[in-house]
Subunit: 641 residues, 2 copies
């Protein structure tokens, strides 16, 4: 069998017993799950038992690259990090870019599966095919930047790439992320899983090239992908220039930029102070992931404001929202500092901004007072308090300890009706799109297997009218469930399994307007990725197979969650979004009623072949080569029809 | 002529015209001034006119290594950075270690002389003998850590060493330092000179070895130096283990640890909270300069306190004092953070701590109020306000702009008698030894050519009773002037010209008790350095010549200052130390009266062959091969006898 694309090896690492087994990456896994998230979801499903404590030694932490990672395919230096999430209890998966994912392949590994827990702080070195355990005792307590610097100084030679946790992960904050360079595998508390395993860092270095099975065919597909991306009227011209910051302006124009913890969407305009025109002035350089022509990641330094001279890679749009409009802060320098601190401490910017916005709303409503907040006056817009809270969350100090595990845990701790202001799905804090005015986004938030996540099936269609303006009505539920399904499938098929950045393949995500129905989609839109992956691996990933694969991964992930006890009831938006209309602006009055949600869920389930409770039918499982799941669901008391 | 030891080249760089001239390092300069500070002082004297604006293009900025730098001689990876100081107007010289100094030699250069000023932000690259000008436009605004990281990312390959300024230097704060790695050429506003030249960084990389003229002889001397250092009963055992932090305890025991801007020395005990026992718990690693067996530089991370998780290289003793006892702060984590911020912003910790202590005393005395301090309550011990002020000083924001140029300028701006609390000599803020209880230190503070500086002739004898306890009475002026002279000469002869760390040769600094008089000193104490430097260079630096060289550099530097208008009146301690006795503790009651100072100055001048006004005699100048100075002094209206 040809293993072009793949590095060929999987490292199984047991921290408890300090044992390593290196196996050949499973060929069926390659064919059915391709890479990245596919690998992560399948291995997690297979190797951890239902009810496994996410912070216990039995949880797995899986780093998985894709078959294109490390090749010349643009924007493919990406990986999926997967574990059972301690924040949600569901599949915890986050992708990240940079150079680490490619280097992992060069070191010889497609997948790194970590189980157990070390007795003493440890880091793992995967150097040119060899795995070793190293003491991280001296690194424990360091922030992620210092940690990376000190590891590089300690190891002989050059070329190491490092993914590590900061103090937040060490303190098992459920908002902790994993940082490589200045990038995050940010959400779902994966940093806490690493911290609970006393694993400070994973270091990779290699010298192997990624073989390509059919180089000429690969080159042709690659050029085609680049051509289409560059011809893209919005994405390339905007993301390459402004990073994602222009989305502050774009979503504000649509009236779906949530402000003040979703309580004031449309009432304030943060675009002027925190949008791309302001941020562009601060750009000092681009910092592309390996082999990326878009280079959306910009490094900025604040020139003015209350915190001048703060350098940060970012802030990404979501971060600019989380610490900007969401908490009422309009000083970009304060946003940059919040971003930088979160990167240093290893904290997820979306969830941290969310939990701060949540606390601010409670404070403004008098549900909590400064007695509980260590004297901090948590009014919206108090950026000093925001910075102070980030410090406190990272170290679980005082009021920071209340907030350090996200809005659900915080509302449990605070009580007094505070749960009404906890903006989350399945325990994952909501990102920066007010889904009351973007129904397909809403279906995605409510059904994504990772919880309230914008990345598992981002509805480009609602935000960008590209490549031709589409007629899709973001206020209507018509077609929303089906479009969401399509996006979720495409996200896996085109992005999260081959590991291509979503920005590169947005065209493939477009619903075919001529057909008007996702079921009848022609295959041509995903032809390029099909060509690329097939040429790289020598395995025939036809467009039809890609679509099937995308559905397979989504459905298997849902089954993981079902096995953990998730039900239809977990597939709903926070109540507030169903009863409180957007108070002002271009989307004023929009909400998503419970009835609308019911309807959309029914349609979404039907499209995916799930029953009314969200459980897949036997037939559909069989079609997806997921027969093995049936028994597990039965054991869990669910009876697939 | 044998140029063992030396790299052989001097780079003359004109930023205004973007011109570079590379010359052979002058052989007479080598023989008479040896290296480091000797080079800096002589070139500064020769190449800038009296009255040159320290912040103008005509000022020079000189990086000079020593003949041992880059060799295997222990603790010799050091350099002197010299300019006319914008803070004092006198010779501005600071030494620094790390790897940069050695790398500069490997790149082929003994000396880098920078004049002019760039139009746009620039950095210099000295790569394997070649000099190039590079745009620093994108680096402008970055802190020193980010700047070093980004330069390394931008340049091809590895092995670069970088000295740069942070935001404070860009803003021309006269407290700005130059940072390489996490080390500082800290004092006298050298970072402001660099900032005024729009020079963000100097980058060096090389591959040449430092040739040794007589390898076997060199090896023997080197082993002897190490043997004596390791046998040292205090220095090696203490500095290697604790860094310099044990001096917090040591000086506290002697009652000369100044607290609350010198107003409360002996009244509070900061040793328990900020001394070595507390700091030792936070050590994560040593970070030695190249080829140093002592490794006094420790990296620490705060575990507790109000700022946990702060990593810093240091704090050096002086820093632990400046942001600790001096400002009434006893939370070490707050000291670490202050240290780290100063390193990042490129600020001198001693002067910044001093000017904050000064402001705090004014506040406590009601001379300034919170109206002037932007609402900050500047009571001693308010570490939040201290941190806030560091941010403000770095960016010259609000009250920070008042403080950003040191205590003299601050007291001029504030008026109202505030100058009484400005602790400085010649405009340089005083370091962490209360000289009222350490007379020889006092003579050194008052006479050092760089101003109130502990490093130009540190009186080890008063602090460490080593190698045998000595009978020297630190409360008596007897012998203080002569001992200070000896120390100042030795500092140049054994440390600042060959560029050996002062810690390595402290034994050589001991006054010979058997003789009891510096004039009759035997030469044996400096024999090892004489051997080392002679063996390295092939030039005969006899002990007698070393002593002469040490005196020569000190006296030439004094002549530079005389030429700039300095007089005897500038060689006095702040008035407060002459009238207010130490209020408590083991040195309670000590002060240094004006009469005592007069007497010590007379003796000091006499020992150095200066007249009552501090002007060297013609005869002495001749003896020191400084005949060329006579005419300059005459032109300046001074008439050497």
């Amino acid at each position: 069998m040809n293993t072009g694309g793949y590095a060929g090896k999987t490292a199984w690492i047991d921290l408890t017993h300090k044992e390593v087994e290196i196996t050949t990456t499973d060929s069926e896994l390659m064919k059915l799950y391709m890479g990245g998230t596919g690998f992560g979801v399948k291995l997690l499903y297979d190797h951890i038992k239902p009810g496994t404590d996410p912070l216990g030694p039995e949880n797995l932490l899986i780093f998985a690259a894709g078959p294109l990672t490390g090749s010349d395919s643009p924007s493919s230096s990406r990986m999926a990090v997967t574990a059972r999430s301690p924040l949600t209890g569901a599949v915890g998966m986050a992708t990240s870019g940079g150079h680490f994912p490619s280097e992992m392949k060069y070191a010889g590994f497609d997948i790194i599966v970590i189980k157990g827990a070390a007795k003493e702080p440890t880091y793992l070195l995967l150097d040119k095919g060899r795995v070793s355990f190293r003491s991280a005792k001296k690194l424990w307590g360091m922030n992620t930047f210092d940690c990376q610097e000190f590891i590089k100084e300690d190891l002989p030679g050059n070329g190491y790439r490092i993914a590590c946790i900061g103090q937040a992960g060490e303190k098992i904050s459920l908002l902790a992320s994993i940082i490589n360079e200045r990038r995050a595998a940010g959400r779902k508390g994966l940093g806490a899983v690493m911290g609970a395993k006393k694993l400070k860092a994973v270091v990779v270095r290699g010298d192997r090239k990624v073989a390509i099975a059919e180089p000429e065919r690969f080159q042709t597909a690659l050029v085609e992908l680049l051509r289409r991306y560059k011809a893209h009227p919005t994405l390339y011209s905007s993301f390459s220039k402004h990073g994602t910051s222009a989305l502050v302006d774009g979503t504000s124009e649509l009236g779906i930029f949530p402000t003040h913890n979703y309580s004031a969407t449309g009432l304030y305009d943060y675009a002027e102070d925190t949008g791309y025109e302001t941020q562009d002035q601060d750009i000092v350089r681009r910092n592309p992931c390996r082999c990326c022509p878009a280079a959306c990641s910009q490094v900025r330094i604040s020139q003015e404001g209350d915190y001048p001279g703060v350098l940060t890679e970012g802030p990404e749009f979501e971060t600019a929202w989380a610490f900007g409009g969401n908490t009422g802060v309009s000083d970009v320098s304060a946003i940059y500092l919040a971003d930088r601190l979160c990167d240093e401490y290893g904290l997820d910017t979306i969830s941290v901004g969310s939990v701060i916005g949540f606390a601010m709303e409670l404070y403004e409503r008098g549900i909590i007072t400064s007695k509980e907040t260590d004297g901090l006056e948590l009014n919206f817009g108090n950026h000093q308090a925001q910075i102070e809270l980030i410090h406190k969350i990272a170290f679980r100090k005082e009021f920071g300890d209340i907030l350090a595990d996200g809005v659900v845990k915080a509302s449990e701790r605070i009580g007094r009706g505070s749960e009404s202001y906890a903006m989350h799905v399945k325990g994952l804090e909501l990102p920066a799109y007010d889904v009351r005015g973007a129904k397909t986004h809403g279906v995605n938030y409510s059904t994504a297997f990772t919880g309230g996540d914008h990345n598992r099936g981002y509805a480009f269609q609602e935000i960008f009218g590209i490549p031709v303006p589409i007629s899709y009505d973001r206020f209507s539920i018509d077609g929303a469930a089906e479009l969401c399904m399509w996006n979720q499938i495409m996200e896996m098929a085109l992005c999260d399994c081959p590991m291509i950045c979503a920005f590169m393949i947005s065209e493939g995500l477009l619903r075919d307007e001529e057909q008007g129905n996702t079921q009848e989609l022609t295959e041509r839109r995903i032809g390029t990725v099909s060509e690329l992956v097939s040429a790289a691996t020598g395995l025939a990933f036809t467009p039809a197979e890609l679509i099937l694969l995308g559905e397979r991964v989504n459905t298997l992930a849902r089954c993981f969650n079902l096995r953990e006890g998730f039900t239809r009831a977990d597939d709903y938006l926070p109540e507030r979004l169903t009863v409180e209309p957007i108070p002002g602006g271009p989307s004023k009055g929009a909400l998503t009623s419970l009835e609308e949600q019911d309807t959309m869920l029914d349609r979404y389930y039907a499209a995916f072949g799930y029953d009314h409770g969200g459980v897949p039918t036997k037939e559909r499982l069989k079609k997806l080569s997921l027969d093995f799941v049936t028994e597990d669901l039965q054991k869990a008391g669910l009876n697939p029809r």
